[in-house]
């Protein structure tokens, strides 16, 4: 296989290509980094919207109201079904007494109005309050719960869930579409830059072909050039997006008030996303660098 000296040589050639084509290299780093920054902003948005949606989702419960005449066995059976249900995040049982106490708690100083409803007169049903792991499973889970014995009815926050799921989907697909478009833009930019280097070196390329260099070898410096543009763009992007993210995160968690402050509860901290970010930018940069250069080489390898 390839010797180390060859590897070093090819890397140096790639670096020379990058330097020799300096203006275009810098310009394409600029464009690719700009695309990547947009990708980074979209990605951060998608991530935080997801986190926001799961936060809101966790605030919403399915309530399984029990019939007044449900037996203890039926309650226990539902309890163990919920324990074993994959969709269930957590749940708690609220007995008739608990329900009344809770209601009295809400009423504060007027709690005494409910005084007559204790014991056998308690009109409030016992219930299970269930939080799901995934809101998209809301409907089937709720159907399942309705079929349990001893259940009076199941109350499901369908509308809110619908809005949240829609929000999640919209950001996801919009993010994906933007990613694809920016990916193509970056690739065209890189491949055009490298096409210039290839053109400038067409003479060398044809000599390489005649002295018996393999296509893989001829292609390598240009792939190195593409990867270099990709890597530098990715690193610049990471610095910019990371800085912006941390700044915004700090601002929202410490300065903001009202609704925005509420968002801070579910904002993903930077420490939780930087590895994904870095790997994502690198992967993006390398992929377009590699593909872009391969694309720009095709014509000149046919000798």
């Amino acid at each position: 296989m390839m010797k180390f000296s060859s590897f070093k040589y090819l890397f140096k050639q790639g670096w020379n290509n990058f330097k020799g084509n300096r203006l275009m290299s810098v310009a394409s780093v600029g464009v690719v980094a700009s695309c990547l920054i947009l990708v980074g902003i979209c990605g951060s948005l998608v991530l935080n919207v997801n986190s926001f949606v799961s936060y809101l989702g966790a605030q919403n419960e399915i309530v399984i109201y029990m019939k007044d005449d449900a037996s203890l066995d039926q309650v226990n059976a539902i309890n163990s079904s919920l324990e074993n249900d994959e969709d269930v995040g957590h749940f708690r049982y609220v007995s008739k007494e608990d329900a009344l106490a809770e209601q009295m708690g809400y009423m504060g100083q007027y709690a005494s109005l409910l005084a007559g409803y204790e014991g056998v007169n308690n009109p409030l049903p016992a219930s299970f309050r269930v939080n799901l792991k995934d809101l998209t499973h809301l409907e089937p889970a709720s159907m399942r719960f309705s079929s349990f014995d001893g259940v009076d009815y199941v109350s499901t926050p369908t509308e809110l869930a619908g809005v949240l799921i829609a929000l999640k989907n919209v950001t996801y697909y919009a993010g994906l579409a933007i990613l694809v478009i920016l990916f193509m833009v970056s690739m065209v930019v890189i491949s055009n830059t490298i096409r210039l280097t290839v053109f400038a070196r067409r003479r060398e390329i044809s000599i390489m072909k005649y002295v018996g260099a393999t296509n893989g070898f001829i292609r390598m410096p240009f792939i190195v050039e593409g990867l270099l543009i990709g890597t530098i763009s990715a690193l610049i992007t990471f610095a910019v997006v990371a800085g912006g993210y941390v700044y915004l995160f700090n601002y929202i968690t410490t300065q903001a008030t009202g609704f925005i402050a509420m968002l801070s509860l579910c904002m993903v901290p930077f420490s939780g996303i930087w590895p994904v970010m870095l790997i994502g930018f690198m992967a993006f940069g390398w992929l377009i660098g590699g593909l872009g250069s391969a694309l720009s080489m095709r014509k000149y390898l046919k000798v």
Partner: protein, 226 residues
């Protein structure tokens, strides 16, 4: 070893550059291909280098059947032959040494081997003191010798020279012919393409004469120049 079997080359739409050419050249021969402009000499070379593909017939070079060769084997086939182009095709911003080292580097040869072999070849073609000169700082004859040195790096079985006397003055063309003769005497096949009858008659042991894409004459001549 070169074997052309009923080779026809048509450039689309319909220029027939070679017509049913059959020729066999053995290892160790010193052959001239002679012909007027447009006779098909360059086409003959391009087919050997697999720069062009035969429209009909078979071309076999150093054991590779070029009608059937796989794309990935072409570079290895090309390492078994060395070509000196009429316009030399040196890289202008590399020194004589680097131009030769380049051909070795791009074919995966160790730096150690390069350091050993390049000075040896430079010496062989009589350029020992000129290794650090750029092509522009060398005379036409010297540039041609750099091109010849580059053609020799892989120790080829076959050396091809396209119009080696075209771009240099007569005195220098004799020098390059002497060099080619010396290379041939080590057992390397040498094939020279030219339109100069005089030169062919003086050095060749065999002259293949082409006209309008056909071989009109293929004669072994007396051991002139030996």
């Amino acid at each position: 070893m070169i074997d052309f079997k009923h080779v026809t080359k048509v450039y689309e739409p319909k220029i027939t550059a070679l017509k049913d050419v059959s020729v066999h050249i053995d290892k160790g021969e010193f052959v001239f291909v002679l012909g007027h402009s447009g006779a098909g000499k360059s086409t003959f070379l391009k087919l050997m280098l697999r720069e062009e593909k035969a429209t009909k017939g078979e071309v076999i070079v150093n054991g590779y059947n070029l009608s059937k060769i796989k794309e990935k084997d072409i570079p290895y086939m090309r390492r078994t032959l060395g070509v000196v182009f009429q316009d030399f095709r040196l890289i202008p911003n590399l020194t004589a040494y680097e131009n030769i080292a380049f051909a070795m580097r791009v074919t995966n040869i160790d730096e150690k081997e390069i350091k050993r072999r390049v000075p040896y070849i430079l010496n062989l073609v009589g350029l020992a003191g000129k290794q650090d000169k750029l092509p522009a700082q060398l005379s036409g004859g010297e540039q041609q010798r750099v091109a010849l040195a580059r053609a020799l790096v892989h120790n080829p079985d076959l050396v091809i020279a396209d119009e080696p006397t075209g771009n240099i003055d007569p005195q220098l063309s004799l020098e390059i012919m002497e060099l080619l003769k010396a290379i041939n005497s080590t057992g390397t096949t040498v094939l020279v393409v030219t339109h100069e009858h005089e030169l062919a008659r003086r050095y060749a042991r065999r002259i293949i004469e082409m006209r309008h894409g056909v071989i009109v004459n293929d004669t072994a001549v007396g051991r002139a120049g030996v």
